[in-house]
């Protein structure tokens, strides 16, 4: 009972995950700043942002469904924090595991995006609505290629259970045997996190702040925290699947940070894509290339 509560509230779920999320957010912002030849934010910046937002007034606009408006950020963060339990954080075996938890995890990870879209549609403003449309369009674009890319390692290991997949990979670096899957998974993750070049849903030069335009204070803080947590989860998942499965925590952390560096470089190199270019990129190239890789994997079995 006590150990269950510790798992949920402190490690690996709950508090430690929130802190890790903020640390990764800081690192992402700092790397981006250094790549742009700036000094960048101080190490406690995300913490100060979150505390400030939580201490601010929360404005609920007139004409929205109050329950949904207040509840959606909580559901979004809860979804991301639930997914923590099935993911091999820091190279340790996941806290919970059952057959088919890969599908459940991917579903829980997309809950945040779904909640963002619903929040935008519920807010009533025209910018929120446009942002929500773009968020959901992007969700349908990257979700299938992302899942298909994660299923490459699953095919190799012959299981849909994350614990069994990481065990089945057994230290092999699938990055070299499935480079397409790796790239699609990582770039799908960037779309999931709405990072540049896939930040059309929250493009501040076009639609103010996208789906979260009307959110202030607590709701905004919870959405940001959910996104931070999801960044850690996504990077961990890709590192575990493509960079040699479970290993000791230090080596695993280094691999995760390497992926973060790659993401930061892509962010600073690329300009924002239009929403139709984003959809085209994933469906025309991402999905088809992963499909090709599946066929190769499948064919390789019979050889």
């Amino acid at each position: 009972m006590i150990s269950d509560l510790t798992t949920l509230l402190f490690f690996p779920g709950g508090l430690s995950m929130l802190l890790a999320g903020m640390a990764f957010t800081w690192l992402d912002r700092k790397l981006l700043a250094r790549l742009q030849n700036r000094l960048g934010p101080r190490w406690f910046q995300p913490l100060a942002d979150m505390v400030k937002l939580l201490a601010k007034e929360e404005v609920v606009p007139a004409g929205v469904n109050r329950l949904l408006f207040v509840g959606l950020p909580v559901v979004a963060l809860a979804g991301a924090l639930t997914a923590v339990l099935y993911i091999p954080l820091w190279g340790l075996p996941p806290a919970a595991s059952f057959p088919g938890d890969l599908v459940v995890t991917v579903y829980l990870l997309s809950l945040l995006t779904l909640c963002t879209g619903l929040a935008g549609a519920n807010s009533g403003g025209r910018f929120s609505l446009l942002g929500a449309t773009r968020t959901l369009t992007q969700l349908f674009a990257y979700e299938a290629p992302f899942l298909m890319a994660l299923m490459g390692p699953a095919l190799v290991a012959g299981s849909w259970q994350i614990a069994l997949i990481t065990a089945g990979i057994n230290g092999r670096w699938l990055l070299f045997t499935q480079p397409i899957g790796f790239l699609v998974a990582l770039i799908g993750l960037m779309g999931k996190l709405e990072m540049p070049p896939f930040d059309a849903p929250e493009a501040e030069t076009e639609i103010v702040a996208g789906a979260l335009t009307e959110y202030s204070g607590r709701g905004l803080a919870l959405f940001y925290l959910g996104r931070s947590v999801e960044m850690v989860l996504g990077l961990t998942l890709v590192a575990a699947f493509y960079l040699g499965g479970l290993s000791n925590p230090v080596a695993f952390l280094l691999k995760t940070l390497g992926l973060l560096l790659f993401i930061a470089i892509v962010q600073s190199l690329m300009a924002r894509l239009r929403i139709d270019q984003t959809v085209g990129l994933w469906w025309r190239y991402g999905a088809l290339l992963v499909l090709l890789q599946w066929l190769v994997l499948w064919g390789g079995r019979w050889l």
């Binding site: 700036r38 100060a48 400030k52 201490a55 007034e57 009307e214």
Partner: protein, 153 residues
């Protein structure tokens, strides 16, 4: 005794809140009729050369996300309602910085038929940054003065 304990908790919480506020001022920029000189200087302040992100400053698109309204120019009759509405859309606690001579006094546009006057006549202002236009260093100094003022409150 219990009352004292509650008071000390309250003080500690207030300290944390003030610390967070001081370290993460998010700006929103509004031009209520300026000649764009001050706006260009504000944009120059946000470029990598001055890198205000090291102070925690971020430019936000939505007034709902922002803490500090940084406005330029005199208030024209057309933009008066918009300025007030943006100010009212911001969640508490909120602060205003008026940048440039026109924002302080109406400047060159004083007495024009379509100009109401300075920012102060429409919304309360916390910090004034003089100059026509003020240099980026002066704008950063204005933000720091505002933070000092928040810290004292």
């Amino acid at each position: 005794m219990t009352l004292n304990l509650a008071q000390s908790w309250q003080d500690a919480l207030d300290k944390v809140r003030t610390w967070a506020r001081l370290n993460s001022p998010w700006l929103i920029h509004y031009n209520s009729g300026s000649c764009n000189g001050c706006d260009i200087e504000i944009l120059a302040t946000l470029t990598p050369r001055y890198d205000v992100e090291r102070l925690g400053v971020k430019l936000q698109g939505s007034p709902r996300h922002a803490d500090v309204l940084i406005c330029t120019g005199p208030v024209t009759r057309q933009s008066k309602d918009r300025l007030r509405r943006i100010y009212e859309q911001m969640p508490e606690p909120k602060f205003v910085i008026a940048v440039g001579s026109c924002a302080i006094s109406g400047g060159a546009f004083q007495g024009c038929y379509n100009v109401i006057g300075h920012i102060d006549e429409v919304i309360p202002v916390d910090v004034y940054v003089p100059g026509c236009p003020p240099r980026p260093e002066a704008i950063i100094d204005g933000v720091v003065k505002l933070l000092q003022k928040i810290g004292k409150q």
